[in-house]
């Protein structure tokens, strides 16, 4: 069960991260085209900054679940390296629980904020892109991150129960 869930989530987070990177590549191309156009005929792309901001927000938030899945978020392992696997797994569960709370809080309170901005009709500064588009990746990324932390925590339970070998040694 957990294995299947993990498999699904791993591929989901990877595709979502690729989508985020697609936005980053788009930001790269738009910025370059803007520079080239402005050298050629003195007219860049109108509202480049609005577009780049949308793409960077997307790249950032869509990458965060992938960073959770690949355990790229930086942590300090001095103490847990010295713990018995069972206790290390316990502290890992606490860590993922806090991650879950924090990411869920971002999604939860962010949703309320996004809804309000959408009701007010807030738009981006130059192009007038509705701000709700900027919120979509934020909400998606934080909610998916919360889901990933549940899966990581679930992995630890057999270790806590059996005191078996931990995968922690592979992590950074």
């Amino acid at each position: 069960m957990i294995d299947l869930l993990k498999k699904r989530l791993t591929s989901t987070t990877r595709y979502v991260a690729w989508l985020g990177m697609f936005f980053l590549l788009a930001a790269m191309i738009i910025t370059t085209v803007d520079v080239v156009l402005r050298k050629v005929d003195n007219q860049g792309i109108y509202g480049t900054i609005d577009l780049i901001q949308l793409m960077i927000v997307s790249a950032a938030y869509l990458s965060i679940p992938h960073a959770f899945m690949t355990k790229s978020h930086v942590s300090v392992s001095i103490l847990s390296d010295m713990m018995a696997p069972r206790y290390a797994a316990l502290s890992q569960v606490l860590a993922t629980f806090l991650s879950f709370c924090f990411m869920l809080a971002i999604a939860w309170f962010g949703y309320a904020q996004a809804q309000m901005q959408s009701e007010y009709g807030d738009i981006s500064i130059t192009l007038g892109i509705p701000m709700i588009y900027y919120w979509v990746p934020v909400l998606l990324g934080s909610a998916l991150s919360a889901a990933v932390t549940v899966c990581i925590a679930a992995e630890q339970f057999p270790i806590i129960l059996n005191g078996g070998p931990t995968m922690l040694s592979q992590d950074k």
């Binding site: 990177m21 980053l24 590549l25 930001a27 991650s99 950074k172």
Partner: protein, 434 residues
């Protein structure tokens, strides 16, 4: 319970959570949110959690970070950085620690175009770390070199932090840039000296290779020309005013991508690997920015930094003793907070104090920027340390922290020189502008 007490408890909780392996970004975010709840109540925290995680990612100036990471990843995968380090190795590889010194030099050159420590560290990490590992450099030395070198992104003008300092204190930005130039070069030289001393005592950390003969050097130079062209366009373009640093990062990333394609180093699989790597690092850096922003919101509402600065001012001691106390205070605070927040939070209180003690505002600007940059490489919370850990599989905080000690000595030496000889900062602006 008073706000200051809650503040102190929160710092203890942050330490505790980090020690039991909670991701640092999450530890800061959770402590910030819970502490904020204790001081300001639910409505305030609900509002902050709804807005800060968005606004801390939103500024356009941040786009430079993932774009430079992308450039670094493409450069590494396409073997561009390898060619660069082969060339550096051909010329200085026979010196102990030669490649580490070359890395510091490259960081300085990068710092001269880019105003951000994070972007400098993230880019150089991709380029330099695998190459130094390949040449059997000690992980601690190699990673700490890049972490310290990354601070040159801010120490060498232009830099965002200097602009903020100048605006808050009503000083000339141009003057501050001029004042920071010699101290920035001094930092570069002292980092090289630190590497020299370290590798003289532990030669195995930065092993010297055999001297390379001139025909081989010329071959290495020929191999490196496409990279030189790319870096030349990126750096020269910013100097010439063709484009801004963010635009340079985009152009550099496209250039590295095209070079990789042209050298047939980029299969579809490698391309996806590049995206994976960029995504992991980007996600990690931005989550830290979010966590730090939430934590800073809380620290600020405790009023702790302000009251500490105020109580130092009331001591009425010798100006230099107070100055040193303040420096110690910033270094300690820098173990938990990011540089920009520290400046914004404390400068309104510290600046009147400093000027009333008779110190020169431009000179203090240089000191202050130097001191907050030290915070980027002091454990447990040092942004540059994290960035390098994210980009380097298997690197532990203990390892990089051990390596960073000699660079902290270099920082202390530089600060002492800057305090003892104000002319290091003030001579150039006087020469250029008076």
């Amino acid at each position: 319970m008073s706000s200051s007490l809650i503040g102190l408890l929160a710092f203890a909780a942050l330490f505790g959570l980090i020690a039991i392996r909670v991701p640092i970004a999450i530890a800061m975010g959770v402590v910030g949110a819970v502490g904020g709840l204790a001081i300001n109540g639910f409505d305030s925290v609900a509002f902050i959690m709804g807005s800060v995680p968005f606004e801390s990612i939103f500024p356009y100036s941040l786009s430079v970070i993932p774009l430079f990471i992308l450039m670094g990843v493409f450069s590494a995968k396409a073997g561009l950085s390898r060619a660069l380090y082969d060339a550096a190795h051909a010329f200085i590889g026979h010196y102990k620690g030669g490649l580490a010194m070359a890395t510091v030099g490259a960081c300085a050159a990068f710092g001269a175009i880019c105003g951000s420590s994070l972007a400098t560290a993230a880019t150089m990490c991709r380029v330099a770390m695998p190459e130094m590992r390949r040449r059997n450099y000690d992980d601690g030395l190699a990673s700490a070199t890049i972490a310290a070198g990354g601070t040159l992104g801010v120490l060498i003008p232009p830099s965002v932090i200097m602009v903020i300092y100048a605006i808050l204190t009503e000083q000339s930005i141009g003057r501050l840039f001029a004042a920071a130039l010699i101290p920035g070069l001094l930092a570069t030289v002292l980092y090289m000296v630190a590497i020299k001393i370290k590798t003289a005592r532990n030669p195995e950390q930065g092993p010297a290779d055999e001297r390379v003969n001139w025909p081989e050097r010329i071959v290495a130079m020929i191999n490196v020309w496409p990279v030189m062209v790319l870096f030349g366009v990126v750096i020269g373009g910013i100097y010439a005013g063709w484009f801004s640093p963010t635009e340079a990062a985009a152009i550099g990333a496209i250039g590295a991508f095209l070079l990789a394609l042209f050298k047939r180093q980029l299969s579809f699989k490698t391309f996806l690997d590049c995206l994976d790597e960029t995504a992991s690092t980007t996600g990690m850096i931005f989550l830290i920015l979010i966590g730090t922003a939430v934590f800073n919101y809380f620290v600020e509402t405790t009023g702790l930094p302000q009251s500490l600065v105020a109580s130092v001012g009331e001591l009425g001691w010798d100006p230099y003793v107070i100055l040193i106390l303040l420096i110690v205070f910033y270094v300690v605070l820098g173990c938990f907070m990011d540089a920009l927040s520290m400046i914004l939070l404390t400068l309104p209180f510290i600046y009147p104090l400093i000027t009333s003690l008779g110190f020169d505002p431009i000179w203090f600007g240089v000191i202050m920027v130097s001191v907050v940059e030290v915070g980027l490489i002091t454990p447990p919370v040092g942004m540059n340390l994290f960035i390098i850990m994210a980009g380097t599989p298997g690197l532990k905080l203990q390892t990089i922290s051990r390596g960073v000690i000699s660079f902290l000595f270099a920082d202390v030496a530089r600060l002492a020189l800057l305090i003892l000889f104000p002319a290091l900062s003030l001579w150039l602006p006087a020469l250029l502008m008076d």
